[in-house]
Subunit: 333 residues, 2 copies
């Protein structure tokens, strides 16, 4: 491959601005990627119709890799959110969210370095709900052996591949004895196949308590869907919020790298957005594509701009525009 | 009432030691309470039989109020944990967990003052699970209008009664549209009846992220069962852990005040346990019984021992025995 094709889905709100930042920086760094621009939303869909653009799905199926900006989440609407939709349709079973202290960004903890590996296809996200009698809703949490095994395998392989120190499974098997019990059983099976990787278990509640009092107790954490949704936000909170954290959705064949912060409609179009989360996600993507030199070059440039601290967007206490921050990074490349 | 009768359930491990501390301090403070000693575990139960002591339940039904020490949680066993069992049997629908920075105990966060109000009877704790096809577990999360309404009422009443500033509902209604959607709808109905109480909503994940980066954004937080389990541990983590946080399980007729930390079998019987969580729980109980002067007197005594800092148990970096710490508190009364 001399050049990769990546489907770029800018998303809503500040999405186009942060996506432009990535495109400009990749240009400057001469990354051998060509973008396939795609819209997530089918703008001609009528109310009640599926707002999701099926063509985009085809493009991702074809090119295998996507980079996705933020999308607003409709609450209580009839449709699942676009993120959840994509993950499910493409069977992107592993949601990987590293949270590492960002040089130059001060928070109450130093040297945080955590990775949440979240099962991304089932659990409470099954979407199966019904009213059993008037006023009573039943919501199905689905836990399958197959999904537990593959996320466990992913976590241990990740730990070995990236030279991390240990794996924790988060669960609530004392309450959900069969569901979370199955999860735990399958993770243990895989742990046995990796005797060199230290393996531990924590109740979800206890684990979250320790995360905020002593984050260095953890390294790689693997868990069911909803818990991962929560834990990854806790970890992000420890290092300065979702504006600084990357995420990857990995399947057997496809992968989507995604900024999971909100689409911030209030500042959209004003050149005020912080593109760092999408940039960090795009660096995960470069590593996934084995474009390690480009990944490092861009990462270093971002870090040095943040450490210098003179060019920062408003969310980090600065006054710089998105394009000024982008240019400062390009100047370091 | 000149004297209240309270069912005292010391629990396992360090339970008896921390319960003794409360008894001694209440004696010294001349609290008008007489204890009804009860065992949670039916020691003559054979393997496979219900280990729960039914007599204890009768005693709580009779005397209305219980104080409970820690109990170990069997993982993967056939029985629900004792805590969950008690809450369900007595329909203790509101689990109230205040987390306030403890004077003299330093953490990276200052001036934390949060209250988690957790629905305590349903949700993921329904215990309804089955294997639908081999290798696939379905776990039912139950959300009922009735339970949502009463926990919402409890939260807003609590906010007004204790002069707190606002209520946040935590939810994941963008994913569990019907279940968490129902919860949100019912909380909104109650919020409308309390127009003077500022009311906000947060996604569970986002809320947890903000809790660790900016806890002063919140005050009273109301939420479904599992989320409350997690959020209350996050809040506890912010102020130094479960060893310092009280909890109350409140029903229409009965209430149980409970230390929710572990039973620490490793240090049991060694006079090393920190009784503070059970003490703080017993202070919540005194307030509930309107014994406000006694509550204040004991609370002040504990605070001044912790602020002086010379008498502390090992978990807080000290070298004092449980009984030394207890005596130091008594000396301040
Ligand atoms: C927007 C929402 C449906 C989504 C999720 O719950 O997975 C988001 O919180 C995330 O973490 O990507
Ligand atoms: C022990 C466990 C079943 C219990 C719960 O999940 O409610 C505990 O974590 C708690 O918070 O009281």
């Amino acid at each position: 491959f001399s050049s990769f094709r990546v489907v770029l889905m800018p998303g809503d709100g500040i999405g186009p601005e942060v996506a432009n930042s990535v495109v400009d920086i990749f240009d400057a760094a001469q990354v051998p990627i060509s973008w396939v621009h795609a819209d997530l939303i089918n703008k001609s869909a009528k109310p009640g119709e599926d707002p999701f653009n099926r063509d985009t799905l085809c493009q991702i199926r074809e090119h295998k890799i996507g980079l996705k900006g933020p999308t607003g989440t409709p609450i209580g609407g009839g449709h699942v959110s676009l993120n959840v939709h994509l993950r499910r349709e493409l069977d992107l079973y592993a949601n990987v969210r590293p949270c590492k202290t960002v040089p130059g960004v001060r928070t109450v903890y130093e040297n945080v370095d955590l990775v949440t590996i979240r099962e991304n296809t089932e659990g409470e996200y099954s979407g199966k709900e019904h009213e059993v009698i008037p006023g009573v809703i039943e919501n199905l949490k689905i836990v399958s052996e197959r999904a537990c095994l593959r996320i466990a395998r992913y976590a241990f392989d990740y730990c070995e591949k990236y030279g991390r120190s240990k794996v924790h499974a988060f669960h609530k098997a004392s309450v959900m004895k069969m569901g979370d019990g199955l999860f735990l059983k399958k993770v243990r099976e895989i742990a046995k196949l990796h005797p060199k990787v230290p393996y531990f278990e924590k109740n979800m509640d206890t684990g979250c308590g320790i995360l905020v009092s002593n984050p260095s107790n953890f390294d790689v954490m693997v868990m069911p869907n909803l818990y991962g949704d929560i834990v990854s936000d806790v970890c992000a909170g420890l290092i300065g919020g979702l504006g600084l954290t990357p995420s990857a959705n990995i399947g057997e064949e496809h992968a989507i790298f995604e900024a999971v912060h909100g689409s911030a409609p209030d500042i959209a179009g004003k050149n005020l957005a912080n593109p760092t989360a999408l940039l960090f996600s795009s660096i995960m993507m470069l590593k996934h594509l084995n474009l390690l030199e480009h990944a490092e070059k861009i990462e270093k440039a971002i870090h040095s701009v943040l450490v210098e601290g003179t060019v920062r967007t408003g969310d980090l206490g600065g006054r710089s525009k998105t394009t000024e921050y982008t240019k400062a990074i390009i100047d370091k490349i």
